[in-house]
Subunit: 331 residues, 2 copies
Amino acid sequence: MTETNPLIRLARRPTGIPTTEDLVYEEAPVPQPAPGEVLVRNRFLSLDPYMRGRMNDVKSYAPPVALGAVMEGQSVGQVVSGPGFEPGTWVLGGRGWQHYCSVPPHLLVPVDAEAAPPSAYLGVLGMPGTTAWVGCTEIAPVKPGETFVVAAASGAVGAVAGQIARRMGARVVGIAGGAEKCAYVRDELGFDACVDHRGEDLPAALAEACPRGIDVYFENVGGAVQRAVWPLLNPFARVAMCGMVAEYNDGTPAPGPNLMSAVRNKLSIRGFIVGDHPRQFPVWRETGARWLREGVLTYREDVVHGLRNAPGAFAGLLSGKNFGKLVVALD
Amino acid sequence: MTETNPLIRLARRPTGIPTTEDLVYEEAPVPQPAPGEVLVRNRFLSLDPYMRGRMNDVKSYAPPVALGAVMEGQSVGQVVSGPGFEPGTWVLGGRGWQHYCSVPPHLLVPVDAEAAPPSAYLGVLGMPGTTAWVGCTEIAPVKPGETFVVAAASGAVGAVAGQIARRMGARVVGIAGGAEKCAYVRDELGFDACVDHRGEDLPAALAEACPRGIDVYFENVGGAVQRAVWPLLNPFARVAMCGMVAEYNDGTPAPGPNLMSAVRNKLSIRGFIVGDHPRQFPVWRETGARWLREGVLTYREDVVHGLRNAPGAFAGLLSGKNFGKLVVALD
């Protein structure tokens, strides 16, 4: 083969927002698949906030990416060769920020490129969508008539969470950055309200949008948004926590809320990682695909072209510059 | 009647630890029961940390005590007169820091003074014991072999919580203030270990006592103990929170833990108020009384004599000076 394998390595552990000195582009030979493995040509790479945590050398729910290794990530792609798959088959399970990868066949999930565009399996039907599904149905179920609040409401997780909560009968309030995103959340996603966290007085605006307080908060940003939400939590409110992207670049963790609030309001605060709920992935993939066909689930992608642009796009994701699920088309 | 009704009023909202200028002793006439009500001679008054919150004029799960009103509290006592009870009957449900009270009969629960000493219905079999029971069985159940940690381990709630958790098969580690209390927790209550929070290096001592981390933390103190516990919480750890007595005199709430810890470790943090679980009171009263008879449940009371001494005893409770469930004998 004369073709190469463009890839991005973690050359250095970033301080704050990662740069192209931390995430270095290079071209390597196309991997030779190990016996029994499948060679996949990745077509779309998913960029997700959790990746920032993997760049740090700290204990977390998953080990960090080793220095010098290809950055970790999930792709949808097409089989080039290997046992058990027709060449050209669309599969989920490609690995790494790179064009080609060699994967054991049991880790690949064929996806129906007719039911939804392949990139949707990375977002609305994939890990972020399943995170929303698990959070809304298992971790912090919302009851009809209750107020449900989700931050990063135009993002990959928030957009799906709000739409699920609305189908469950909740009054849904989003929080997003900027007028354009807020309009999208209200008008396209059908949330009951959306508050701009870049506005002047977030606590006041959120209180106004939630006149009966907050019964369920789906947390994925932390920081100032979390501080604005906390005083509005109702007795017996539930908080589902899947991440705190606003704080991922902080060197020292900021203090959290005094937990006497949890006693006074009998709060239930539950952190979760979607990977601990593997059986929900196919459940949501089917449910979400059906809702897409029925036209009751909406999503938006922010597609960046070319692997060279992935580090910059990822830096933008951490500061809220993307609009919709961020994917890199590996043209 | 020539007898008077000694009582204690909330004369002023305290700053920090309450004094006898906040909690003022006086003698009033014995109340005339309203028609249909029962006159009760309170014999033992329960002093509990939650009372500190009722002295502040802030929104919480229960309204504050009005300025000038008799301080709120629960007693066991004996019926003097009134419908539906033989005079002399021991009842739970007397109200206020006072010798006499007039109570609607449906709020009185007759207690079996043969099955346990009457004061036990304020502590091990009463509100604190039921708090321990609800926390261990409903809010944060512990599994056999897991490590269960409870603070204020020689106190009214902690002592019972640890003994219940041990019966559920957990390895139980207490935290208490001073060598005498720690020895009691280990030797009399049968905890597997007890750490002195007044020792030199609480985080290190706690880590040593919990070599496999902490699976369930029963929180009733907050402050430095909470900060020592947090880094030891295992993946999927559960935190049952019924109070944070170490912080009740603080003017401004101290910051809490950064909640990214809840995501990383998939924590479940649940605040609760035992009053929301009314059906558990009789369940625990019967279960606990049976365990007392069988000799498998131990408790200790710190009995202070005379209502005049209640404010000083309450101040001591907030700084850990009591040893066992604090009650005032209304001699």
